[in-house]
Amino acid sequence: MIEVKDVMKSYGNQDNKLPVLKGITAKIADGDFVVILGASGSGKSTFLNVVSGLEKPDSGSVRYDGRDITKLSDGELTGFRKDTVGFIFQQYYLLPNMTVEKNVRMGADLAGNSDYREIIKAVGLEGKLKKYPGELSGGEQQRVSIARALAKKPNVLFLDEPTGALDEETGRQVLAYISALQKERGFTMVMVTHNQNIAQMANTVIRMNSGKVMEVSTNETPMTAYEIGW
């Protein structure tokens, strides 16, 4: 269970403060699939970074099963990220001078996971094991970053617009794979997206507007990646 309470975050200095999160409260149950929707600049990415422990809020708390991660030291936070969370970013952020295999191992080694090749295979990249990120298409790179995050066997997976750079066909494939794996392993998933349709796949939808939660809705009958519109 992740409990976010009264989280505030602003950027800039004293004279020129830009409040980005203006008191956010939310609960995310274990094994839930949460989608965060909102206009560009509404603070979705910032929220994701704070909840996942990449960034500290100015005030408020983020509790994982009662443990407040905003109070952790830098070293403890690193340990927390290692044991608990996985990330998939819109821009992939693969290590350019490591092969696909090594990029995935970067995640796998942390969890002592030796069957990372299975995951590479599952995202359809077994033929590209020895290729470098610069030699892959955008969709392929995104799949590497997905494999890298999944190989880490996270309890909570954070995704910031994972399909932003993908075409419809690849996007659907990737989403189908991630959500199937989520059902199988039962990890929690928090995804930021622009795409309203993807929200239909989620159990819970959080709508944000200028740094505040506008609406939280639950979805009784989530659709699959091939049933939603695009």
Partner: protein, 380 residues
């Protein structure tokens, strides 16, 4: 203007090294030119022998230290320009895309020679401040007639003006050469470009961290050179300084010690800063995933430790060989020259000192790594 004075200011390493080089060379060359004047005034045979020994020392010191330091400056400058172009690929790429020619962009790189000018000028001036003292010490026993310090304008040309011009030309041509890349490769960022891929064999069942360490070592050969060079200088210069105390004069000993330590530290700092700067994104990504600061350090910097030991060993051998040669060949006719033996206590002292300095530097940089924010990956 593509390259600002601010970028040139970062070239402090080159300034320091050229300052040392010019200081030593100006001191000994001036001495050499002045001592030549008194050749006719020599009366005793002992004075003639001493005179020749002094002339040879001046030549050896100039050749060895001047040559070494010059080579380092050239390597460092090329390295720095390459680094500058790599880190400013985007801006340079945009200029190229707009239609600026390579040479037109490269012309601006002359600014980098200001660091050389600054260093050589300071070194040259410093040499003249030290000269009266130095002349006196060299002739402490009064074997030679009094030597007067005189200013040789040609030295200024050779040691300050020419190096500055040469480095300006070198900077422009090297930049032009490096800019000869297709625009697209310059515009792509590190996370996308395939241009920078260095195919290093990555072991099939090698853990990620081990591979990362091997990779950092193999793709940054210049840095390996710098690390070896830094420890080489440190080892050779500190040990030689101790022997100089006995063989020559205290002042030469202190000068050697200072130059050795400054040179070693400058190169070490430069090398390690580049390793970290060049891997900022990798470190940030590793921290996002939860690799600890210690693991990042070990993977990126740990591989250089054995290299530094190699450098130290090489430096020890080198200084021994050089001193043996000097004592056996150049000073062989001198009477009352102390015999030269390899000095183990000094070596161990130097090694201990070296280890302390190295580990302190590494420790400081570990702090630097800690400061890299995980958000760094999202900045472009």
């Amino acid at each position: 203007m593509v390259v600002g004075m601010k970028d040139a200011a970062k070239l402090i390493g080159i300034s320091i090294i050229s300052c040392c080089a010019v200081l030593v060379c100006a001191l000994f060359m001036n001495y050499y030119l002045d001592i030549l004047q008194i050749e006719d005034l020599l009366s005793t045979e002992q004075a003639v022998i001493f005179y020749h020994a002094q002339v040879s020392t001046a030549k050896v010191v100039c050749g060895v230290s001047g040559g070494c330091l010059l080579a380092t400056s050239v390597v460092m400058l090329s390295f720095y320009i390459k680094h500058y172009i790599d880190t400013h690929k985007k801006e340079l790429g945009i200029l190229k895309a707009l239609g600026y020619s390579n040479l037109r962009i490269a012309k601006n790189f002359w600014v980098f020679s200001t660091g050389v000018f600054l260093g050589t000028s300071v070194g040259f001036a410093g040499a003249f401040l030290l000269m009266p003292e130095f002349y006196e010490r060299q002739n402490e026993e009064g074997l030679l007639p009094e030597i007067v310090v005189s200013f040789h304008p040609s030295l200024f040309v050779y040691l300050v003006a020419l190096p500055t011009i040469a480095f300006a030309v070198l900077a422009v041509f090297y930049a032009a050469l490096k800019l000869k890349r297709p625009v697209l490769l310059l515009l792509k960022n590190d996370f996308q470009s395939s241009s920078k891929i260095r195919r290093v064999k990555q072991g099939r069942d090698c853990p990620f961290l081990v591979d990362l360490r091997k990779h950092t070592l193999r793709t940054k050969k210049t840095l390996v050179f710098f690390i070896i060079f830094a420890s080489f200088c440190f080892s050779a210069m500190t040990q030689m300084a101790a022997s100089m105390n006995e063989l020559a004069s205290k002042m030469m000993g202190i000068m050697m010690l200072l130059i050795g330590v400054i040179l070693a530290c400058t190169t070490l700092f430069l090398a390690i800063t580049t390793v970290i700067k060049g891997n900022t994104k990798t470190i940030a990504m590793m921290r996002v995933f939860g690799y600890s600061q210690k693991e990042c350090c070990r993977a990126l910097l740990g591989g250089y430790r054995p290299m530094s030991y190699i450098g130290f060993a090489l430096g020890t051998v080198y200084q021994y060989a050089l001193l043996r040669f000097t004592v056996d060949v150049i000073f062989k006719d001198m009477e009352g020259m102390p015999t030269y033996e390899f000095d183990f206590p000094v070596m161990f002292l130097s090694l201990a000192f070296f280890l302390v300095v190295y580990e302190i530097v590494m420790y400081c940089y570990a702090g630097q790594i800690k400061k890299i924010s995980v958000k760094e990956i999202m900045l472009e």
